[in-house]
């Protein structure tokens, strides 16, 4: 059961093909589409469907790397804080008169270094990532507050704002959606078609055994955390571009939503299991649910309670369904 991520060439069986978690997600997405289009007649318009994606592309970018982190049996609590730190460093350097793109590069470097810091502490100090990233969760956002105080940096150039707000040419396709899609395909190939993907599943299933079989566990962990820092910085910069300002409280609710999406996508919280398609489907499902809730004017505080319950059911539901359908 726990090695489903690894064993590939099983004989085809219709039952196991249709009993996959991804189908259930697709059913949920169809239900969400039906409900949303009942609430608003404009929902199914092409432009609306594309515009809807603006609201969860930054989430999606972090979701991709968080699924890697959870598949190897770890967690990164510092993602939202890292976004804020990168955005703040970009904002401050832009304010000091640096070129926009150099400022952006500095933001990316800062976030990546933050991720590297996490990775090195986790592998060198040998303490579970929960505690280390709980520390950097506070530290990174603290740095954002030190840099920005209670102020916000705005006045970014139009070229920069295009990244988070623009469309490709005259088509209705947002730039952010294209960036996300490229990343999603890349991450999917790494996870499912490369040696490193198989290493990740192996580490998540049995870290000690992987170590003994010569998999460079520590190096992979450091790489994934560094990549996590980079992706957070990218999400932070795109978010900044979309709302056209840097604030120290950017991404405060990201952590919960990202973890919810990853777990709902079928990634096991115990590591070693999950697929990229499931995670992306789950991202769109949550995106549509949020869009629907916004259509009927549900306040954000109620939304956060709903997300909390969804996080719980994201673990209970696959568990329960597996017990019902797959007990053979």
């Amino acid at each position: 059961m726990s090695v489903t991520g690894i064993s590939e060439r099983k004989p085809f069986s219709a039952r196991s093909f249709f009993m996959r978690w991804e189908w259930i997600l697709i059913v949920f997405i169809i239900i969400a589409i039906i409900i949303n289009s009942n609430i608003s007649p404009y929902f199914l318009k092409t432009s609306n469907l594309f515009n809807m994606t603006f609201n969860f592309m930054e989430l999606g970018i972090i979701v991709l790397i968080m699924s890697f982190v959870i598949i190897i049996g770890q967690i990164d609590l510092s993602v939202g804080s890292n976004m804020a730190m990168s955005s703040a460093i970009m904002g401050i350097s832009y304010q000091m008169g640096l070129n926009m793109w150099i400022a952006m590069l500095l933001g990316l470097i800062a976030g990546t270094l933050g991720g590297l810091f996490n990775g090195l502490l986790i592998t060198r100090v040998k303490i579970h990532s929960i505690i280390i990233t709980l520390g950097t969760y506070s530290l990174f956002r603290g740095i954002a507050y030190i840099l920005l105080g209670d102020k916000a940096v705005s006045g970014y150039s139009a070229k920069f704002l295009y990244l988070g707000q623009g469309y490709i040419g005259k088509s209705p396709v947002p730039v952010e959606l294209v960036i996300f899609s490229v990343l999603a395909v890349t991450f999917g190939i790494i996870l499912h078609k490369s040696r490193y993907g198989r290493y990740m599943y192996a580490i998540g299933n049995n870290e000690l055994a992987s170590r003994y079989s010569g998999i460079p566990v520590d190096r992979i962990k450091v790489t994934i955390y560094t990549a996590s820092g980079f992706m957070c910085a990218m999400a932070g910069i795109l978010f900044t571009s979309r709302v056209s300002m840097s604030r120290p409280n950017i991404g405060e609710s990201f952590l919960f939503e990202v973890v919810t999406i990853v777990l709902l996508g079928g990634v096991s919280i115990y590591g070693g299991q999950g697929s990229m398609i499931g995670v992306v489907l789950s991202l769109f499902l949550i995106g549509m649910i949020r869009h629907g809730l916004a259509l009927v004017n549900i306040p954000t505080q109620v939304m956060s309670v709903i997300i909390g319950f969804m996080l719980i059911s994201a673990i209970l539901l696959p568990k329960a369904l597996r017990r019902v359908f797959m007990s053979e």
Binding site: I131, R141, Y145, L263, K319
Partner: protein, 338 residues
Amino acid sequence: MEKSVVKGQQRGRLLRRILARREIVLSVFILILIAAVSLRSPYFLTLGNFKNILLDSSILMIIAIGQMMVIITRGIDLSVASGLAFSGMIVGLIVSHNLGIHPLLAVLMGMGIGLVLGSFNGFLISKAGIPPIIATIAAMIIYRGSTYIISGGTWVDASEMPYGFKQIARGTLLGVPNLIFIVIVVSLIFYYFLGHTRTGRQIYAFGGNPDAARFVGIDVRKINFIVYMFSGILSGLAGVLWVSRYASAQSNTAAGFELLTVAACVIGGVFIFGGSGTITGVLLGSLLLSIVINALNTIRVSPFWKMAIQGMVILIAVITDSIISRRFEVTLREGGGS
């Protein structure tokens, strides 16, 4: 069987030695810190300021004791601060609408609400088998969001609270401030519970080696439920005390406080991989943290630095802890060889 008992005793003696050392180290560190800060600011060493530090640390101590029990079982409870805000808000609202309520009843109500919240966490973790980090993160946002919803974004302030209620945390009993009195009672209760009752010892046994605990016949689910329940009750109690002390209940009360409780445990020598930790250590850890925070205020560090410093404190505590315990393991191994 006999062998494992002997091993357990050795381990116990070893842990006691580490912890004995930890408490001495902490006390020395606290004294150095006090000396250093009072050189910068004479106000720091006044009696009034010290009373403030003690009162500030007492609420942290109460929650940290609950957090310690959770960490001993290899879990973590990130919902404590939201639970505090939730119970504080409900009790605050009830008290402001029924001015005649006896203060003791308000305290009991807070603990009751905490009991419900803690049992919810305990249920998710022990019965539904959700990992503690995920269950309590979910609980954290649910409780915080519910606090907003119940209060409608408004807050209960000092003028709406009866005198008796505000005296819960501000009054004195035989010359001892109530808060300190409550901390002493709570510490003694849990000192007895953890050290001298069967269930208390089972908590350590489970944290030290969950598999062994299961084979020995310890009701693992019960242990897992109980620690979150106690953590809930203590944060419910802390909620009432917080609202009474600061005479205001807001929906963002104590936001981020859960980090401090974890830090207090780590600094106090609670082993993050479970199985060990003492009340005295946690009390000293909380005291040290409160002194640091107070010192930052007296030497006028910008409040924007607070979060970053909190993070640094956790990381430094964890790293030194890991280095110390690793060195200790090495000396033990050498000692065993001779």
